[in-house]
């Protein structure tokens, strides 16, 4: 009995000591011993191991230690904890475009401009570079994006002689015709996705946010009630109310099944979608096609972006200069990395030369019955204009989607969604110490 107790005590003492030791030495080690500099990277790109291997094989002085700590919000939660704690963050972190100002206001990101990253300006799509930088400060290196276009069931549109919509008015008409043909079908789903809704608003000319940390840390523009923003919510709200549009959240099994069964006829999708759909929709492969986004005015040529990500260097990096090299060159001009990025991870490249390369634009997709869909996506990315985000975009998207959810369940009129969000966001911003324009 005594023996058992003693060994148990010993075990618990050792456990405590081990845990304390483990928490004490959580940092990363630099290359001060003469070996290569080790740079830690957090990212959740698919097939990323090959990209890391390619980098490590082509660099002797810098080696990357990659960890996937979770997708999107999961990784951000860990990053925010690490920045609040002052320790535990990686040297380089994958961050989506809409999150860059959020991490800037946490004083989390290094200006890579001081290590020469400004030289990369011409390499990347202009809209992406604009979002990644502020003046001559480079806070992020673009990797992939999501220029938007309309995915539609070509076979069903052809069979029922419904013209492919070129304007949103025609889209609504197509939705009515589709409902007459198949009462169980929907033109698409209003997917409860902040980035998606944002892309649609972007395309409508809505520029609801303005923020520049170099101009004024505590000044932010919130203009969600602008007519160009309102028209998007009201248009989609009307489709939902008339039961022409479903409300399944994207990327759920239900939404995938609906896309793959003829329940949804279209999806306003992004440059990375071809990879996603080819992997998850098997029944309807070959029946889809891509068309340019319907326009708000006939003959216009306006576009939006849904999604996309960058590499940032964190202020906790031991060697920010080496970390900048990693951020710039993990993808950058690396042919090997982009071969994996395009053909295995199905990223939409923001490196202009990679996007313009015939190997990308000329790629025929079986899923789209041989259509070279990148011929549509690439010009969209070239035409995209400037778009800013707030330094609290999680709050904005969260509130906007919560208000939309109230509208879909009938607790709120659609035309009050943006008024309510505007009010909540402005209140929140003021409480956080911002001057709101």
């Amino acid at each position: 009995m005594l023996g058992i107790n003693r060994s148990r005590t010993l075990v618990s003492v050792l456990t405590v000591a081990g845990l304390l030791a483990a928490t004490a030495c959580g940092g990363d080690s630099g290359g001060s011993d003469g070996g290569p500099v080790r740079v830690s990277v957090w990212a959740w790109y698919p097939e990323f191991k090959g990209v890391v291997d390619a980098f490590n094989a082509s660099h002797d002085d810098i080696q990357v230690d990659w960890t996937n700590v979770g997708t999107g919000p999961d990784q951000y939660a860990k990053l925010k904890t690490a920045f609040t704690a002052g320790t535990g963050a990686p040297d380089v972190a994958m961050v989506e475009f809409q999150q860059i100002p959020t991490f800037l206001i946490l004083d989390a990101l290094v200006d890579m401009g001081q290590y020469g990253a400004g030289a990369d300006e011409d390499l990347y799509a202009e809209w992406a570079w604009q979002q990644a930088t502020d003046g001559d400060k480079v806070f992020a290196i673009p990797v992939d994006g999501g220029p938007m276009a309309l995915m539609y069931r070509k076979d069903l549109f052809d069979q029922h002689r419904i013209p492919v919509p070129t304007t949103w008015d025609e889209y609504a008409t197509a939705a009515e015709k589709m409902k007459a043909v198949d009462p169980d079908a929907y033109i698409a789903s209003f997917g409860s996705d902040g980035g998606w809704l944002n892309g649609l608003m972007w395309q409508a000319g809505c520029r609801p946010y303005g923020y520049s940390i170099t101009e004024a840390r505590d000044k932010v523009k919130i203009d969600l009630t602008h007519p160009d923003c309102e028209k998007v919510i009201e248009f989609y709200g009307d489709l939902v109310e008339r039961d022409l549009m479903a409300t399944d959240p994207f990327f759920t099994a239900d939404a995938a099944a609906a896309l793959d069964s003829g329940k949804y006829w279209t999806w306003a999708a992004a440059g990375w979608t071809p990879g996603y759909v080819a992997g998850s929709l098997k029944n309807t492969a070959g029946k889809w096609a891509v068309a340019p986004m319907p326009q708000w005015e006939k003959g216009a040529d306006e576009h939006g972006d849904w999604g996309g990500s960058t590499f940032t260097v964190t202020k906790q990096a031991d060697n920010p200069e080496a970390a900048t090299v990693v951020a710039r060159e993990l993808f950058g001009k690396s042919e090997e990395a982009w071969d994996i990025g395009l053909n295995k991870a199905f990223l939409y490249p923001l490196v202009k030369d990679v996007a313009a390369d015939p190997a990308f634009t000329g790629k025929a997709y079986e899923f789209f019955n041989g259509q070279k869909v990148n011929e549509i996506f690439v010009p969209v990315s070239e035409k995209l204009g400037d778009f800013d985000y707030t330094p609290f975009q999680d709050f904005v998207f969260g509130d906007l989607l919560d208000r939309c959810a109230e509208a879909t369940s009938g607790q709120r009129e659609w035309d009050t969604v943006l008024d309510a969000t505007q009010k909540n966001v402005v209140d929140y911003a003021r409480k956080q110490g911002f001057t709101v324009e």
């Binding site: 206001i105 959240p249 330094p391 609290f392 709050f395 879909t408 369940s409 409480k431 956080q432 110490g433």
Partner: protein, 293 residues
């Protein structure tokens, strides 16, 4: 005499206590103290950190989102906890009365959902509720109704309640069943001789005998309800109707890990802890009083 012997080996005694003490200090006292310290200051995104005393608590107790969420879990608990404990009690009494091989198998099966991690359980139910894949959504059509949307604003609390009930009823059943095992069998014999039926024995003898265990199960259930998090967190990917402040705990999580406001999050957590403590204590007091009267 006894007291002196206990202080005979103060060092050895302290050494025996030390591991436990260290664990408690390192993983309970220090984090709690740190969280409380965090809650006493505010950090706005633009202005930085400043000491605000109990300002965060004033904000918490007047925050409509938090109060809405709190009201929601109260309503949820008022229905779900009695329902779950009722089923668990009936199950435990049945198990106690029936001693066939079937009862042993049933005991194991009833307990199984508790062994499934809460995240997996919520994900699994997410699929079972699905209109495309789930077997339940189309049930109302058999009676001429419209298919059920388990993620709609109307049904959401019921859907969540079902998951929690599924996961915890078996656990509570086992707790109550174990308590029943501790009741002296002579009491049942005496009741039988007095002419009581099996149902009367169950209601008049067994239930009062395990009242303490029932109270304990109730307290744990109430605390669990107040801390409602995993199921709504997981289900929010299926159900956009689950807002950022759907439950107080979910709100605290979002404040910290989405909006980077660790200070306010700490205050919400402490306020919630305080309310849970008061509620649990009041419950214990009321059951104790009833017993002594």
């Amino acid at each position: 005499m006894r007291r002196r012997r206990m202080t005979d080996h103060p060092v050895a005694g302290a050494l025996f206590v030390l591991p436990f003490f260290l664990v408690v200090v390192a993983f309970l006292v220090v984090p709690l103290g740190y969280a409380f310290w965090l809650s006493l200051s505010s950090k706005s995104l633009a202005l930085g950190e400043q000491f605000t005393g109990f300002g965060n608590y004033t904000r918490a107790f007047t925050d409509p989102v938090l109060l809405d969420g709190f009201l929601r879990v109260l309503v949820f608990g008022a229905v779900q906890v009695p329902l779950m404990l009722g089923i668990a009690l009936v199950g435990a009494l049945t198990l106690d009365a029936v001693t066939t091989r079937f009862a042993i198998a049933f005991r194991l099966i009833a307990f199984m959902p508790y062994a499934v991690p809460a995240v997996l359980g919520a994900l699994m139910w997410g699929f079972l509720y699905s209109r495309t894949f789930g077997p339940f959504a189309d049930l109302p059509t058999a009676f001429g109704g419209a298919p059920a949307d388990f993620f709609s604003a109307d049904l959401l609390l019921v859907s969540l309640g079902n998951i929690v009930t599924w996961a915890w009823t078996g656990y509570n059943m086992i707790v109550l069943y174990s308590a029943l095992q501790g009741v002296p069998r002579e009491m049942y014999e005496a009741a039988l001789i007095d002419g009581a039926s099996q149902v009367q024995i169950a209601v008049r003898v067994k239930v009062p005998a395990i009242r303490q265990a029932i109270a304990l199960a109730a307290i744990f259930s109430v605390i669990g309800t107040m801390q409602f998090f995993v199921e709504p967190y997981v289900m929010s990917r299926f159900a956009p109707q689950i807002s950022a402040g759907y439950t107080p705990n979910l709100y605290a999580y979002n404040q910290a890990f989405a909006y980077s406001d660790f200070h306010y999050s700490a205050a919400i957590s402490f306020a919630l802890g305080f309310v849970v403590f008061v509620a649990a204590y009041a419950f214990v007091l009321s059951t104790r009083k009833r017993r002594s009267s």
